[in-house]
Symmetry: C2
DNA sequence: AATCTTTATCGTAATATTGCAATATTAAAC
DNA sequence: GTTTAATATTGCAATATTACGATAAAGATT
């Protein structure tokens, strides 16, 4: 035991959970926010922005990339990391949907 | 080590990360979706809906409650669990904001 | 009051995550 | 080709999460 039983849930449920999980750490939220703050995508100074050691930041970046939340392209000897809008679009649509459904229920509910 | 360094990040970053983390498991996504599906909030059969043992489901419910994503009221000898819209509102607003910012950046970017 | 039903808690095993020092890799700069 | 700079990988310790059987708690039913 200890491992998540992903095969018992739908692909959609697993997909949303994966995205949410990747954002479930303040360092990764901070990375996303930093990527939005800087003007261009050529941003090789993420490490200096965060209170974490370089290998730790690298690992967080990898997780965000695996989840599809950011894209990374090699640009010379540094790397150009970017927000991947598609993933955030998915999340936003999902939550909008939840709110709509919750609103409709309101009448016969606590 | 192994513990998240929450004190190095802003309250807002930690708050969003906490909400995202709570949704970072397919069972908890499934619970939210089930709560939306049933007509009323008096729903004592969440356990039967999930492919997990009762203590496991109870634990997931507790985590969702701690994160503020659901509310639970004792209703006789069963419990009335409900979506807490405020938390989902926060998430939706957050992602809308991210998308807006990402859109503005698009020009001078990959 | 004995029993049933529903939910929570405890204890514990298996696994995953977090964080970093040390080291590797790779391309630019000299 | 050697050094420098930026990022990735490895290995490992500390901690957290996931899952469940056993048990407890508390109101409902008989």
């Amino acid at each position: 035991m200890g491992a998540t039983k992903t095969d018992h849930f739908t692909d959609k449920q697993n997909a949303i959970a994966t995205l949410a999980k990747a954002l479930g750490h303040p360092a990764r939220i901070a990375i996303i926010e930093y990527l939005l703050k800087v003007d261009t995508c050529i941003c090789g100074d993420i490490v200096n922005e965060l209170p974490l050691a370089q290998p730790t930041v690298s690992q967080h970046l990898k997780e965000l990339k695996n989840a599809g939340l950011i894209k990374g392209e090699i640009e010379g000897n540094s790397i150009c990391y970017c927000i991947d809008e598609k993933a955030f679009q998915k999340l936003q649509t999902y939550f909008t949907n939840i709110l709509t459904k919750a609103e409709n229920k309101k009448s016969n509910c606590c």
